[in-house]
């Protein structure tokens, strides 16, 4: 049973890693002017909710399966994802707003955020991998 949980977490984590990489690539495209702000933001906004859900699911799964440490590790990031989504002002087009992304260094902070998430997911990835192997062996 535990192995299934970690296999699922591992797959989910892979998806999140890909998503982070995608965010970074798209944002750096914008930074280099390869795409314009409008298309960049509409691309990214599409994936904000899947990312949020994907991450929340893992967190909840950890809570349910009573892996406290991993749950607590995931909690801040999951909270941040949800907070960020909820706090989008009513007039904005999503977490990434093409009219503001070039202002006040937003692009840089988005980039930084994506980098941190990538690191975090990589860490989680190996943690899940280790836990999964351990669980498989134990089984």
């Amino acid at each position: 049973m535990e192995a299934v949980v970690f296999i699922f977490s591992l797959l989910d984590c892979c998806a999140l890693i890909f998503l982070s990489v995608y965010f970074i690539i798209t944002l750096s495209d914008l930074e280099c002017d390869y795409i314009n702000a409008r298309s960049c933001c509409s691309k990214l906004n599409k994936w904000v909710i899947p990312e949020m859900i994907g991450h929340s699911v893992v967190s909840v799964l950890m809570l349910v399966s009573l892996h406290w440490f991993i749950f607590l590790l995931n909690l801040p990031v999951a909270t941040w994802n949800i907070y960020r989504f909820i706090m989008v002002p009513s007039g904005n087009m999503g977490v990434f707003d093409p009219t503001e992304i070039h202002n006040r260094g937003q692009l840089k902070s988005h980039m930084k955020e994506a980098m941190i998430k990538l690191g975090f997911h990589l860490l989680c990835f190996f943690m899940y991998l280790y836990s999964m192997i351990l669980a498989l062996i134990n089984d």
């Binding site: 002017d33 409008r38 002002p89 007039g91 087009m93 093409p98 009219t99 070039h102 006040r104 692009l107």
Partner: protein, 1227 residues
Amino acid sequence: MEEQGSCIERKLLRAKRGPGGPAQSQMQVPSGYGLHHQNYIAASGHYSQGPGKMAASPLDGQCSDYYSGLYTPPAQKVAASSTASHEGAQQVYSGGPPAPPLLGAPPGLVPGASSTASLMHTSASQPYPSFVNYYSSPAVYTANSSAASQGFPATCHYSVSTVSNAVHPSVCYSSPPPGDPYTRVFTSQNALVAGSGREGSFPGQNAALSHPSALGPLPSQQHQQQQQQTLSGFNTLSWSVPGLPPAQDNLLRNHAGSVASASNSPAGPVAVSPAGPGMQNVPPPRPVSTVLPGAPSARGPPAGKYPQESAALGTQPSELTLQKGMQYGDYVNNQASSAPTPLSSTSDDEEEEEDEEAGVDSSSTTSSASPVPNSYDALEGGSYADMHSSSASSPAPDPAPDPDPVPAPTAPQSVRMAKPFGHGYPTLQPGYQNAAAPLTSGVQPSGPVAFQQYPQYPGVNQLSSSLGGLSLQSSPQPESLRPVNLTQEKDVLPTTPVWAPVPNLNMDLKKLNCSPDSFRCTLTNIPQTQALLNKAKLPLGLLLHPFRDLTQLPVITSNTIVRCRSCRTYINPFVSFIDQRRWKCNLCYRVNDVPEEFMYNPLTRSYGEPHKRPEVQNSTVEFIASSDYMLRPPQPAVYLFVLDVSHNAVEAGYLTVLCQSLLENLDKLPGDSRTRIGFMTFDSTIHFYSLQEGLSQPQMLIVSDIDDVFLPTPDGLLVNLYESKELIKVLLNALPNMFTNTRETHSALGPALQAAFKLMSPTGGRVSVFQTQLPSLGAGLLQSREDPNQRSSTKVVQHLGPATDFYKKLALDCSGQQTAVDLFLLSSQYSDLASLACMSKYSAGCIYYYPSFHCTHNPSQAEKLQKDLKRYLTRKIGFEAVMRIRCTKGLSMHTFHGNFFVRSTDLLSLANINPDAGFAVQLSIEENLTDTSLVCFQTALLYTSSKGERRIRVHTLCLPVVSSLADVYAGVDVQAAVCLLANMAVDRSVSSSLSDARDALVNAVVDSLSAYGSTVSNFQHSGLIAPASLKLFPLYVLALLKQKAFRTGTSTRLDDRVYAMCQIKSQPLVHLMKMIHPNLYRIDRLTDEGAVHVNDRVVPQPPLLKLSAEKLTREGAFLMDCGSVFYIWIGNGCDSHFIEDVLGYPNFASVPQKMTHLPELDTLSSERTRSFLTWLRDSRPLSPVLHLVKDESPAKTEFFQHLVEDRTEAAFSYYEFLVHVQQQICK
């Protein structure tokens, strides 16, 4: 409804996707960002001109094309006078090109200005009959005119210096014959400059300005000086060439001279007016009646507030000549040459553009800024010594050594030449001169000198270091650093308008620098590192007014637009020429080749003088762009009006005003023969009007399916203005009465906008939306969010941001299709401007708001709408524009303010650009600027003129870099800083909260003053100390806190607040400052003391009063100039003579409560008052409405709320604010 059926057919299209399907099929224009140049092969003939074109014919064609495009539209701003002048210019011009050198002419000129002028004319025209032939076609004429205007506008300005002209003869001749004429020109310029502005520098100037006669002596002096100096080198050189251009100049001058008598005005304003008259005199045969917008452009600050500006104006003449030259050059190149220009202009998609096409004035004048420098020289003596002193900089040694050696050896002229060296490009001269030597006889003398120096300046860095000279440290402390104890200084506000500080550069660079009206930086001394900037606690940013109406502007037609190959910077006066063949970019320091075509100077018709090209002589230039700069063929001017006709709208009656204004201005809409126009109305349904040619009457098509909007017919909704003019007129006459009985109260604004977008997307253009209430149907419907009980809340102000992203998305869609949406909101109730404004904010539109508009109950609003519409409909417009701002490596831009969409990090997408739009940019210093002493900023605005020309307007600003905190403070431009802070505060209040924004504003003052206090140890704790450059800072910030946008505790409607915020974001600095801190004058005792003369009128100049009730007396009458409104406050003990003579009433009691006009009475005081008001009005684009406020009338709160230095229930007085700041600092 039915009644109207008779005049307009209606079809009800209920079926979804009726016949209209086609609309979808319309081809969509690429959103524009792609790189596909190939797709867009040059549309119009002129663009295609290959470099290699030969022969006269091609030339002619080009000319006609450009100019016809530019200049035909004169209609926009009709200043008859200006036109006339242009014409004169044209003649000259036409004569010019082919021109056999008119060496003979100069002497002739000497005798008398007016007489000479006539002579000149004849002479000029005669030589070139053949050319005339070319231009016989109408188009050609226009072209000529334009050309002329370009060249000569400057002249106009200078006409002022009539006296100077007279003087000329004696002065001029010292220099080589050919040169003489030119020198004269300069003198005139100088005179202007002096007048405009700088009182300090020229003691006599002011007097001179006010009294034309006085000018005489000054000009002559200046002349002499100039000649000796050789005007920064280039002027003389360029001018010296015997070629036609000189002749033209002479002509111009002469004209100007004759005119001159008329033109009195010394200052900026003056420049405008003078130009007009001068031109008139010229009246040559020109067919073209067009008025150049330029004339209107005169708006510049009346008082000539900005010395630089004035200087710029002064420069015009030279520019003119340059331009002429340029144009010639083109022909020449084409014809003869072979110098095909390589594609220097390779452009990427990014174009920056600008255009002034309106052709109006701007295009007309080619005049360049270069003259300015001259003026400065004249003013300051121009010698090196001056440079040093002025620079007064600490490190002065660097600059000094270089220049000094040079001058010494040679004659005065040579010395002048030397100056330029500092820049770097001057160094080129020597080499060039040699090459050119055969051509330019006049130049030669300087040649040798130049050579000597040349070796000395191998590297740019050296140059820059030598230039840098900004040191403030030098012993005499600059005025701007004088510590001021704010709590003890009673009158901080000067009695004259505040000018922009002049960057502390050497004379040559100062002269070349961009006018502060177009381009200002909050710190005129750029700190070397971010750490230093952080220490100073001052905002760093630029304020731009890129598309300002200009009276003269060099327009350059060239096959090759020379740009840096790596950063794409346009060549500008601040680049350095390493040798004849290479130049070093001043932004990225890359070394570029000088293209072959650029080696040829069309002005002097000499080869090998790239440093004298107009691009390098003027910091504001306009290029005619080639097809490289197009993503698609230039679009026609397209105007769509979307009108609310719900019950509310009909009740307010705006349709009458609008239709009337449109009928009056239909012929003046900027555009060419392709101009298209369309109308839509909406209530709960959407009505389209088919105006296709051939219909007997307009046909109304109603689409009631607002959930899925479609266009009822594929064509006929946007029609050619000229082909369907009759139908349009019928419709405009019928519209106001068509809906009089409507009971429809709903408003389907969102769907109407979607329909408008569909209609416009194939072409792009301008959508003008008139809305009178909250949209209540369909997409984009809004709810009322305002709680009236919270209007005067001191705590939280909510709902400053949009409620929905519908309008933002729509605006971005529109922006992608090059469509701008302008919003006119005329409503009596809350209409959620915060949400609606998004449609304009992100599509580069503009926003007008008329609270409680009613055409009969509120006549002053109706009058305002009418005046605004007139300006709106006739002002210049640029389509499918993009603006790119570049800055020296090490600096970076991070936040932009204004109405536009930021497409990539430094590229602003502007579907439309209008002359009343201002922008702001925040900067940060990413890398230390230790290895450079100068930084430059360049904005390039690429746009399609209403004539279908692609144009690029480039402004370049150069500023010194400093390493000490004191220097940073010395260079603060307090007005720019306050405007930038206001922009930042608006952002803050939307993204965070209003109270945060207010705190941030107060903290800006506290931080900067405490940071300054800590640098001045000896004055500690004796009060609130500020450097003189910042002494107005607390006052302005306090005014900002009491501004509608940011005030709390005073009842402010949410829409009013949001509108004030929109204005802060989109207004150029000049207008914004008046909004923040109005000007107060006492007008019941106007005298002619210090008066200026404008257009034969005497304009009194009363001193500015501080905005405090203590300055008001019951016995007086006061005028408050708030930018868009004038208030005249009359005390109840007001002098009865004033009431009788100016207001036309026997006593105070009989003066009506609502009075919006001053009667035209035949008394001296009435005349003075009116001329003062007119003068103030002329200085701005939107004609302000006048409100007469009697002391006891309820309207006086309107007036008193602007007295920002006084205490109100909810806000500090100025003194209290200072004490508060001081307490914060001590904490």
